[in-house]
Subunit: 152 residues, 2 copies
Amino acid sequence: MRPAYAAALLALAGFALSAGVLAAVKPETAIRYRQGVYHAILWNFAPMNAMVRGTQPWDQADFARRAQRLAFYSQQLLEGFPPGSDRGAETGAKPAIWQNPEDFKAKMQAFEDAAADLAKVAAGSDIEASKQAFAQTAEACKRCHEKYRAED
Amino acid sequence: MRPAYAAALLALAGFALSAGVLAAVKPETAIRYRQGVYHAILWNFAPMNAMVRGTQPWDQADFARRAQRLAFYSQQLLEGFPPGSDRGAETGAKPAIWQNPEDFKAKMQAFEDAAADLAKVAAGSDIEASKQAFAQTAEACKRCHEKYRAED
């Protein structure tokens, strides 16, 4: 890799290039990161939701594949909320997140657990159980959003 | 899950809610999705790059964890470039992508292969091999970017 290319690539993303990169992550970089993960979640959540609602034909293999992705993404979110990233770019994250870190972590963990269970259930062939696990996961989303995400 | 909540959540993300959701994905939704995945890649690529450059202490376990993430993310990108998503929101994706779909796919596959190899090597304890595999992955990024990503 050419260092100049790497520097340009990273500068583009707003990363600090000096020593201690992690400590120096800009709030806006964290905000873009977590919003990116949420977009990736929704990209997969939407067709799953359509299958559960019956507006798209049920496809267990596709449902299972997307459930596995949700399980992965659910584990990537928490690090996207470092202290100080309540501002720095447009964000729907409420300050309450950083005022209640333990509760926020617990709700994220509940989402991780629900998504992991969904992936496990979806790998089988029980459609109703898959739908139920999906509903549980969506509930976990909601329990966090209603407290920690600003209304649009 | 309350349908109204699901609808609001999906509407927020720009997903069409009618039947045939996949077919009806808006270009801007695909653009936001793929940009989100790229942000997630960079979030992990940056500290790996810092370790390789020596501006951050080497941590094989962290390097390996991030390499696994890159391998996952590399497999999520291609679907974020559906026909028609060359416009609809600000994007650095060049029209050449959709004019050379087979070449674009091949370059994406090369990235997937490099990232998979990186994850495999990083799971071991050979630092130099890890750095080399990282360089190969970064080269795969570059080979696609130089042809298909607009300069800023």
